[in-house]
Symmetry: C2
Subunit: 140 residues, 2 copies
DNA sequence: TTACTTATTAATAAAAATTATTAAAAAGGA
DNA sequence: TCCTTTTTAATAATTTTTATTAATAAGTAA
């Protein structure tokens, strides 16, 4: 609780219970979409509105607290901002796992960016496939 | 025209005018979202319905003709399927440029995948920032 | 070509997702 | 505690996407 409070304040946002609950849910599960977040938060905070969840997710994304993870064929998920990492996304069950490793060839990237005069601000690497769980089930 | 016809047929889809027009628009611009595609296609094919555009984009995505490019804070774009590449996405103007280069460290990726027992099927690398056009304008 | 069979389209309609509005409530600082 | 400002909740309104189905068009084979 204290932790999320300071994250919010450090990023210039008021630490409301709604926001902290939203962050707790996302932190607990890693990646969640708006509906999933609402469904969890409403359990402990029955008066919260879905619009409030939308608005807070937007504000926290704009203020570097959350990061949107757009996905092929699914609703976007949100995660708490953290250092560069890779997403392993299962096309079967939709699970997302973080790998805390930077797989991008930084030198080649820098060259591409400088050739294009492109000012870098962030990246996302998504790897799609089938997780171990789903591939073992699929032996049917 | 001939080209897109064979792409469709090679992937087991009938080559209708609607589909070929959609592919032409995407091919012309590189990346387009559903509304943009509809707006272009309707110019030369006034009777087409938005639902038809949605359905065909879905079918062509499912049949490896198109690839969805989900984006942070924007509607997903679609591109014609091609080899592994990187997207340079401008946060200012929304432009997307392809770089035909594979920046991912393949050996490290293989190691991650084998550790996790994750069956690879595809990847997407998006780099966000400011394109040369927008950064030169922003000297204001 | 023509007739036939099947898949696709267009036009709704319906559902789902997202954003806007505003009075009431809550947060943070004096 | 009081005051000012921001945020919430509860709609309402949009926007986006999907479903339905009769009409149409595509591909196939005679």
């Amino acid at each position: 609780m204290k932790n999320y409070m300071s994250i919010l304040k450090d990023n210039g946002l008021k630490a409301t219970f709604q926001r902290m609950h939203i962050l707790e849910v996302i932190g607990m599960y890693g990646h969640k979409d708006v509906d999933e977040i609402y469904a969890e938060v409403v359990k402990t905070h029955p008066s919260i509105s879905l619009a409030t969840v939308y608005k807070n997710i937007l504000i926290m994304s704009q203020n570097n607290v959350l990061v949107e993870v757009p996905l092929i064929g699914r609703k976007a998920k949100f995660e708490i901002k953290k250092d560069c990492h890779v997403h392993l996304i299962c096309k079967e069950c939709g699970s997302i796992e973080d790998e805390d490793i930077d797989l991008v060839d930084i030198n080649s990237l820098k060259e591409v960016l400088s050739n294009k005069n492109f000012l870098y601000s962030g990246q996302e690497l998504n790897v799609y496939g089938t997780c171990s769980n789903c591939s073992s089930i699929k032996v049917s």
